[in-house]
């Protein structure tokens, strides 16, 4: 593996018996890079994250290769993976309440990660925990370490999860919908802290979410997933300003914007017709074709490939440009 990438995924396939949820995913995340993985429920984005961490639920199996820190994570033993989780790769999950242990004090939960991986003394780990809490702008860190998860707010819990993820200076943080369960007014603060911490430590970030604005604010590159495949990827500005895949364009257009609001109720959002296909009956060819206005017979018959340089779209009839599409 090249030393320039924090993560290299080649042809990742995640399946459960006959169901294939992730169907050949390839991407590279450079050291210190920030990539967003966008997709709706059922697109396979969360299973991708779990596969990267070796945390797939019972019965699911991953194939392909996931190169990180010179090893292929898919071929690592459980023991070796457990040694890496929280050390070189760490993860922030959606719901901090279910990822924290309800019967242990939050400070202990963070310091035990530090003690396990960094082999520090208990006192030193506790000191580092308080320092991490301070960096996460948590109030009164000396007292807060003694709190149980139910005693603190959701935003504080998620900041503790981020502190835990950062504790051992990982090379890569995978964040799966880290702010979806939080109140809107807290969301921005948590994102800002995550953003600052990632920047300061130079670790790579893989941000998994359905929320396009979050990706726009946090990431340099984006990969859009649909039905287990990446349908479009490239620099965030290019993909969001001039999407090439009709699905990406549809997602962007279904976001309420200031224009919709300014029209005082008279505007309509464009919506993507239909629904995300279930895994057991994926359409042939381009999986998006039943919902796509530009679909032809070719789209039904052949799977479009994701080729090209940094800016790629798997579509037989890519959107020309936003301006042109609006004119037609």
């Amino acid at each position: 593996m090249s030393g320039a990438n924090a993560l290299e995924v080649h042809n990742l396939v995640v399946r459960h018996d006959m169901l294939t949820a992730v169907r050949g995913l390839s991407f590279a995340l450079p050291v210190g890079g920030r990539m967003g993985l966008v997709g709706e429920s059922g697109s396979g984005k969360t299973l991708t994250a779990l596969a990267l961490m070796g945390l797939l639920p019972m019965g699911w199996q991953a194939d392909g290769s996931v190169l990180h820190d010179g090893v292929d994570l898919i071929r690592q033993s459980d023991r070796a993976l457990a040694h890496r989780r929280g050390r070189t790769i760490s993860m922030v999950f959606q719901d901090p309440l279910s990822s924290l242990d309800p019967v242990r004090r939050v400070g202990y939960q963070v310091s035990s990660v530090i003690r396990r991986h960094m082999k520090t003394s208990r006192r030193e780990a506790e000191r580092q925990t308080i320092e991490l809490f301070r960096q996460m702008s948590l109030p009164r860190p000396e007292q807060l370490v003694r709190a149980y998860p139910h005693e603190i707010s959701g935003g504080q819990r998620q900041r503790i999860m981020i502190a835990m993820a950062l504790a051992c200076y990982p090379q890569l943080i995978i964040a799966d919908e880290p702010t979806t369960a939080l109140d809107v007014t807290v969301q921005k603060q948590v994102l800002r802290l995550l953003n600052g911490a990632v920047e300061q430590r130079g670790c790579a970030l893989l941000m998994i979410t359905h929320d396009l604005p979050i990706i726009a604010a946090m990431c340099d590159t984006v990969a859009v997933m649909y039905a287990g495949r990446i349908v479009e990827m490239g620099p965030v500005g290019q993909v969001f300003r001039s999407p090439r895949h009709h699905y990406t364009r549809g997602l962007l257009e279904s976001q309420p914007t200031m224009d919709n609001i300014a029209l005082d109720g008279s505007s309509r959002l464009t919506s993507i017709p239909g629904m995300v296909p279930p895994l057991h009956s994926l359409p042939t060819g381009c999986a998006f074709h039943p919902r796509c206005a530009a679909a032809t017979e070719k789209c039904v018959a052949e799977v479009p490939t994701l080729e090209g340089g940094t800016r790629r779209a798997a579509c037989w009839h890519p959107v020309e440009s936003m301006a042109e599409a609006a004119a037609s």
């Binding site: 709706e40 429920s41 109140d183 809107v184 007014t185 969301q187 921005k188 994102l191 800002r192 953003n195 359905h210 929320d211 396009l212 604005p213 979050i214 990706i215 726009a216 604010a217 946090m218 965030v236 500005g237 969001f240 300003r241 549809g250 997602l251 962007l252 257009e253 279904s254 976001q255 309420p256 914007t257 200031m258 919709n260 609001i261 300014a262 029209l263 005082d264 109720g265 008279s266 505007s267 309509r268 959002l269 464009t270 919506s271 993507i272 017709p273 629904m275 995300v276 206005a293």
Partner: protein, 283 residues
């Protein structure tokens, strides 16, 4: 992808409110803290005035804990307020005779956040749709009513024989809306109806709600924490904070000239793709 052009939503200021709250205060008594002291009370709603007119969509926004859910429970008659009045069609629902309360219960219906948990997983959708007619003892041609409502929400008839697990979240939310429409309500209260849905589906449900307001002359109360979604759907928005309504305004005015601190916080919390790409979203 479909687009329609439509006239602006009417504000219907000339019409009398169909559902109204006057000076509603709700307090809960908490557990005793000290043995010989009175049990402390928590004021969840503090002298709230709120109304909605036929054919009007009003929004209610606020952080969690601001009192939105309690307000919903009182508006729908699930809870009786300690002080103040809830008026349906001009008459207090808690003091009116039983026939008026019955009318109120038929006429005010709710759509909840998570359609998967609001539909019985063991019941075919046809049976689920008939439930409100049975429980509210509504007479008439039930089958015809089911077909009519399916048309209104844009579902096909073969949905009736199927179970909730066969549908996606967006379709289930349509079904939940259909069930709410069964009793022929005048007011639809939607509590976070799209926050559990995928982005591409949200727009479908929001557009459907707007159509129902326009086509059926329904009064819509749209409750959410996301100001941009509320602003898109409604023509008048109330902002709640700590049990009070701190600001009422047209969506655009709230965005451009927010007065209350709570409004400024909510406006400031909105992330858009544009602001994200500009690089100052998290500044």
């Amino acid at each position: 992808m479909t687009t329609h052009t439509n006239a602006p939503l009417p504000t219907n200021e000339a019409m009398r409110p169909i559902l109204e709250m006057r000076q509603v205060t709700q307090t809960y008594t908490l557990a005793r803290q000290k043995l010989f002291e009175a049990r402390p009370t928590l004021t969840v709603l503090d002298h709230i005035d709120f109304d909605v007119r036929p054919g009007e969509a009003v929004g209610l926004v606020g952080e969690s804990g601001s009192g939105k859910t309690t307000l919903t429970r009182i508006l729908t008659g699930m809870e009786q307020p300690r002080e103040g009045h809830v008026l349906f069609d001009g008459r207090d629902v808690w003091t009116a005779e039983p026939s008026h309360r019955q009318l109120f219960r038929r006429s005010v219906q709710v759509v909840m956040q998570n359609p998967r948990s609001s539909l019985d997983p063991r019941m075919r959708l046809g049976a689920s749709l008939l439930e409100p007619l049975r429980s509210l003892r509504i007479e008439g041609d039930h089958a015809a009513r089911v077909y009519q409502v399916l048309d209104q929400v844009g579902l096909s008839r073969n949905a009736l024989e199927r179970f909730p697990h066969e549908f996606s979240g967006g379709q289930l939310q349509r079904i939940a809306i259909a069930r709410a429409l069964m009793s022929g309500p005048k007011v639809l209260i939607a509590d976070e109806p799209v926050s559990a849905l995928d982005v591409s589906i949200q727009a479908q449900v929001l557009n459907l709600l707007k159509d129902l307001v326009r086509d059926l002359g329904l009064a819509l109360v749209f409750i959410a924490h996301d100001l941009s979604v509320v602003a898109y759907t409604t023509s008048r928005v109330s902002v709640m904070s700590a049990g009070r309504i701190v600001e009422i305004g047209k969506p655009l005015d709230l965005f451009t000239h927010p007065k209350a601190e709570a409004t400024r916080n909510l406006v400031g919390a909105i992330l858009t793709v544009e602001s994200g790409l500009a690089g100052n979203a998290l500044a």
